[in-house]
Symmetry: C2
Subunit: 362 residues, 2 copies
């Protein structure tokens, strides 16, 4: 690490063996999987903070406790017997794009691929909380998983809280199925929280306890991790909803070692991708074949649901041989756009800079 980089960061360009160990376990979605409305299991991105726990569904229970009138203890069969909703929901890791920052915050070194859309089946959280009876004075709801490890020198079970009003939104689910099958172990079997529109860390996996709190949670993942700040002494603001972003299936064919793309001059390319935002519906997507100098408007597909990415496409016929960069960018109904250069912060969160794909026209 250069002595000029802030604590917990390193110069861009190479990653350490420790970061490689994270990249070898965790994985992005190969961007050609943007072709699917719903991401096949195994192509959806995956980030595991500690280890994937081995859970016996016969003895697992979900506890609902804290500031409630009637604490609950619920078996998996009881959860699955509740009202069920199935919905496509796009997840993105808050750290997506981190390894493109300079200096690079040291953590899971994502480039662009930490995204995916699952068809999630679960039961509304609000109804279960209502059954338990939320006590007066409640302010947050804490979600506890079964995964345990050390982070920032603190031994912990993964725990994240949500403000009460966010936890009570209609679209928040306790999910036991992904793409029509029981959750795979790595996606939180037997039950996970699904909070549409928020970054991935919100969707607590291997959920075992829901605790209603009468004061804000001060644990690691809310108070230290997942905060937007420029230096470690700053309190910062919590990471919450996904920033607007478009990604495309890289055109042409790849070079194995560099992933550079090759397309043939005069051969029309159907450029396809997806766009999403946690702040509002996608309003437009633009594409550039000249590194962002000029832009054309893409066609949008029908919406698959209020919390799923939206397909887009545009045709491009490369004319001049040589190297170029193809780019895409989206705008949402909240008026948010994607920046040309990555916004920097200490944790490397929410980098939604315009995607740039190096392409050689032959």
């Amino acid at each position: 690490m250069s002595i000029t980089t802030p604590p917990g960061t390193a110069e861009a360009g190479t990653v350490s063996q420790d970061e490689l160990a994270l990249a070898a376990r965790n994985h992005g979605m190969p961007l050609e999987a943007l072709a699917y409305d719903v991401t096949p299991v195994g192509m959806h991105y995956l980030l595991t903070h500690y280890d994937v726990p081995y859970v016996d569904p016969a003895t697992w229970t979900l506890e609902v406790d804290g500031a409630v009138e009637r604490p609950l203890s619920v078996s998996l069969d009881q959860v699955r017997a509740r009202t069920a909703v199935t919905e496509p929901v796009t997840f993105e890791c808050a750290g997506n794009g981190r390894a493109l920052l300079d200096p690079r915050p040291i953590s899971q070194p994502w480039l662009l691929e930490a995204v995916g859309t699952g068809s999630w089946t679960g039961t509304p959280l609000a109804a279960m909380l209502s059954e338990a009876g939320i006590a007066d004075g409640a302010v947050e709801v804490l979600f506890t998983g079964l995964d345990r490890g050390v982070e920032g020198d603190i031994e912990q079970t993964f725990q994240r809280s949500l403000p009460l009003e966010d936890a009570l939104r209609d679209e928040v689910l306790l999910a036991w199925e992904l793409n029509g099958a029981p959750l795979p172990p790595q996606h939180g079997f037997p039950l996970r929280l699904v909070v549409p529109g928020w970054y991935g860390m919100t969707n607590v996996k291997w959920l075992t306890r829901i605790t209603v709190l009468d004061e804000p949670f001060s644990g690691y993942q809310n108070a230290r991790g997942y905060r937007m700040r420029q230096d470690p002494d700053e309190e910062g603001t919590p990471v919450s909803r996904m920033a607007v972003r478009a990604l495309m299936v890289p055109p042409g064919i790849p070079d194995f070692a560099t992933r550079r793309r090759f397309v043939d001059r005069g051969e029309e390319q159907l450029i396809e991708g997806r766009a999403w935002s946690g702040e509002g519906a996608i309003e437009s997507v633009e594409f550039s074949a000249d590194g962002g100098a000029t832009w054309g408007r893409a066609d949008l597909s029908a919406e698959a649901g209020p919390h799923a990415w939206r397909g887009w496409s545009i045709r491009w016929t490369p004319s001049a041989p040589g190297d170029t960069e193809v780019c895409c960018r989206a705008t949402d109904a909240a008026g948010r756009e994607q920046p040309a250069a990555p916004p920097w912060n200490l944790g490397g969160y929410s980098n939604n800079a315009v995607q740039r794909v190096p392409v050689t026209v032959r």
Copy 2:
């Protein structure tokens, strides 16, 4: 790259942005998944040379041609109507362990996790070749996938050949199911070759053509890639069967950023893992809690099948606080053992050095 490293290699310790792009798409099996007899989809390792192709099963066909008496063109329904066999088969990438070499061959930077065991359902290849009628003088069988890209400056579709006698072995399958469901796109939908005992590149995905050859195949993946050699001018020998190896579930709990493990002094640990070899059955597995100075013999589980990894376990109660390395190693029926230090070659193949897991006893 240091000027002292051979062409195509770099110093150990960091990886480049290009290698990171490979590591972000491809992924290992998190080692805690060694707990499963059959690896859940999405936890099995995955290496894609180019892009995962999008295949329409309605128009896909398998062609059997070349030095045969009766060329065949077979639909997916016709393949699936043939005699079916289901068997657990362990796959390992030939490059597993590559990023632990020094200098490090530049390619997909695997540490230890490029392994998995699938329950594969398919039909014996030998019967289909027999139906086509192998012509006199045939020496090899070439398998062509639908994935296309550039590698070593050569544009190519992924193709690998097998010597005829290996292709005709009983256990070689054309597989359309993994773990009881149609192949996921990333594992070769709709059909892949499964060659038990051989390294992963042999198991050609998105299979579309089988060509019987009357002379050896001289294409990239046999003649240039996947060869054991010390320098680029050497012809070398082909990479084929998996070397003997044991891996363990890392004990205790991890640190997020470094993956270092923590265990508590005096608390008995059940150390569990799997061992496999492409050369013969596993005969013994040993475990060391002191970095390889002393070894104890692990208990072996029953064999799940002739081509699947074998479970093993041993109990360990850490007594002295401080840092140590826990290690494991296996021996197979062919008398092969694992080396203490990695065997080096230019492609970084077949590194089956003893696994070493840094552990802090608290």
